[in-house]
């Protein structure tokens, strides 16, 4: 039996990381908020990838969540951070519910390209929509929390950091429970052999759709965080390069560990920030070398660092094929 962290321990970890924000320098708070937000959407990509499908268009749901929140915030003056995250998640999830059943019929590169195409269609519509500010987008007000407004920039940054860490942390716990569940096993089974899954009487499309909607919910909530952090939204949220960044985080993390998604997201943000600071003209080169290094030395992602170690600590089972038991076959 695998020995995994108990959900209560994970809740404790989330609380610890949240409180740790109190002693972090101010500049790291916004960086960590963006990293957590990116981790949330990348986590959705990992959830979906466990069915064997990669979405190259999560920017669609990211933008849907962001625009949904921004429109409601400006129309009704709703500024509460938690409410905005919920609205973002609902917007992303509803769109996922519409698209998921249609797109679940496809797999592999067709699935990926369809998601990319849909996000670019949405991008094009946003750019042409003058009511939504066209290519310039529009601004929203500062977020509040349970009626409290934060005028001190550090407190405002900490509030956003805390909400993003808690929401992303709970999403991580939910994903961990999902991965360990029978549904999680069935998702892996769909990735390996969806026809066999059908022969067992299980709808592979339904499994993909559910994972797709979960990924869309995470992406919508992530869009709400990005909106709150920037207090501005524009069609770039749906652009393919934005989606590509989230896929980068998911690739860096691998699909073996939920924690790896957060580590990968934070590592990518740190490398990006420091290379931008010290090598402003060649920071993309540094980022590219970093990505190449991870892909070269950790092809199964950052998560393989501790997953592999944990297996070797437990004493990995022999890799010799087991010959048929008790004189049965072959």
């Amino acid at each position: 039996m695998r020995k995994d962290l108990h959900p209560l321990v994970m809740i404790g970890l989330v609380a610890g990381v949240t409180l740790f924000g109190r002693v972090l320098p101010t500049w790291t708070l916004s960086l960590a908020t963006i990293a957590a937000s990116n981790a949330l959407i990348a986590l959705g990509i990992v959830v979906l990838a466990r069915t064997g499908n990669v979405s190259f268009g999560q920017g669609l749901f990211f933008a849907a969540g962001g625009y949904g929140v921004a429109l409601i915030a400006n129309a009704w003056g709703l500024t509460d951070a938690v409410a905005q995250v919920i609205i973002g998640a609902v917007c992303g999830g509803l769109l996922g519910l519409v698209i998921g059943p249609l797109i679940a019929r496809y797999s592999g590169i067709f699935f990926g390209m369809l998601t990319l195409a849909l996000s670019m269609v949405f991008y094009g519509a946003l750019v042409k929509s003058t009511a939504l500010g066209g290519s310039d987008g529009f601004n929203v007000g500062r977020p509040s929390l349970f009626g409290m407004t934060f005028t001190d920039p550090r407190e405002a940054d900490f509030m956003l950091y805390a909400v993003s860490i808690i929401v992303t942390g709970f999403a991580g716990i939910a994903a961990t429970i999902l991965f360990r569940s029978e549904f999680g096993l069935t998702s892996l089974a769909v990735r390996e052999n969806n026809l066999r899954v059908e022969y067992l009487g299980i709808s592979a499309n339904r499994v993909v759709t559910i994972n797709f909607v979960i990924a869309a919910i995470f992406a919508g909530a992530s869009g709400a965080f990005a909106l709150m952090a920037q207090r501005h939204i524009d069609p770039q949220f749906a652009y393919w390069t934005t989606s590509g960044e989230f896929v980068f985080v998911a690739v860096l993390a691998g699909n073996q560990s939920v924690a790896a998604v957060f580590v990968a997201s934070m590592a990518l943000e740190l490398v990006r920030s420091f290379s931008n600071l010290y090598l402003p003209n060649t920071w993309q080169l540094v980022l590219g070398i970093f990505l190449l290094g991870v892909i070269l030395f950790l092809p199964r992602g950052i998560g393989s660092l501790w997953i592999r170690r944990r297996h070797s600590r437990k004493g990995s089972p022999t890799t010799e094929p087991v010959v048929a038991a008790k004189g049965s076959a072959q």
């Binding site: 569940s181 096993l185 069935t186 089974a189 390996e192 022969y199 009487g201 089972p317 049965s328």
Partner: protein
């Protein structure tokens, strides 16, 4: 006795190749039927049509009163037909017990909902029980990728059993098994499936296995049924000897 499976006038062509030519066959409940025939005779096409993987060009396939000719593999599985494969179709990154757990989780319509701990434990116990019937309980936590072909074949059959099918189709259950072990393997399969599947149809090339385990033999040739009857009669049939068994037995 009412047939559990009734096939009438089943036709299937792949271009110029006739894979099923007006196939008509009734399979009563409780019978062990062997399908024999040379490669390309139409046995696998028949199995694929009965399990919903292929749709016939014409004809009907009735399972317990339900026409399943146009249904999907998922729908056919839910109605009571399960199958194993000539090349075992398992989830190789999962363990043996996890493969069975996935199969068990698909039995009920709420298969995709999240289960309580006790339900999950019950399913794990059922997986171990099924593996135990095949003598594989001690391999429950081994990934499929570490298991030999013969063991994979037994797990593939175990997965087909979890729905307690009305009709179990086994595609060459002893292929890849050494001559010394084929009877032991088949004994184990027949013993293990007995509590869950009374009606068994198995595709087989080994005539010793056919004559020992089948109660009825259906011989295929070029998409047609060449002979259908008791093993002793069919295997002695001149046409079967000429086109199927090549003079064996």
């Amino acid at each position: 006795m009412n047939p559990v499976l009734s096939v009438r006038g089943l036709n299937k062509r792949f271009g110029a190749v006739v894979a099923a030519d007006a196939l008509t066959i009734d399979i009563p409940a409780g019978q062990k039927v062997s399908l024999i025939g040379a490669n390309g005779a139409g046995k696998t096409t028949f199995v694929n049509m009965v399990t919903g993987y292929l749709q016939p060009d014409s004809g009907s396939i009735v399972l317990d009163g339900n026409d399943i000719a146009k249904r999907s593999p998922r729908s056919v599985a839910r109605l009571g037909i399960s199958r194993s494969f000539q090349i075992p179709q398992l989830f190789i990154e999962l363990t043996a017990a996890e493969n069975l757990t996935v199969a068990i989780s698909g039995v009920k319509t709420q298969a995709l909902s999240f289960q309580s701990r006790s339900e999950a434990q019950g399913r794990h116990d059922k997986a171990l029980d099924l593996l135990g019937r095949f003598g594989l309980a001690d391999l429950a936590d081994r990934p499929i990728s570490e298991l030999a072909g013969g063991v994979r074949k037994l797990i593939d059959i175990a997965m087909a059993l979890v729905r307690r099918p009305k009709l179990l189709l086994l595609d060459e259950p002893t292929s890849g098994v050494s001559a010394e072990e084929k009877f032991a393997t088949m004994d184990r399969v027949i013993h293990a499936v007995a509590p869950d599947a009374a009606t068994i149809v198995f595709v087989e090339h080994d005539m010793e296995i056919v004559s020992r385990y089948a109660e009825r033999v259906v011989a295929f040739y070029q998409g047609r049924i060449l002979a259908d009857g008791e093993p002793g009669d069919v295997l002695k049939d001149q046409e079967v000897r000429r086109y199927v068994t090549g003079g064996a037995r």
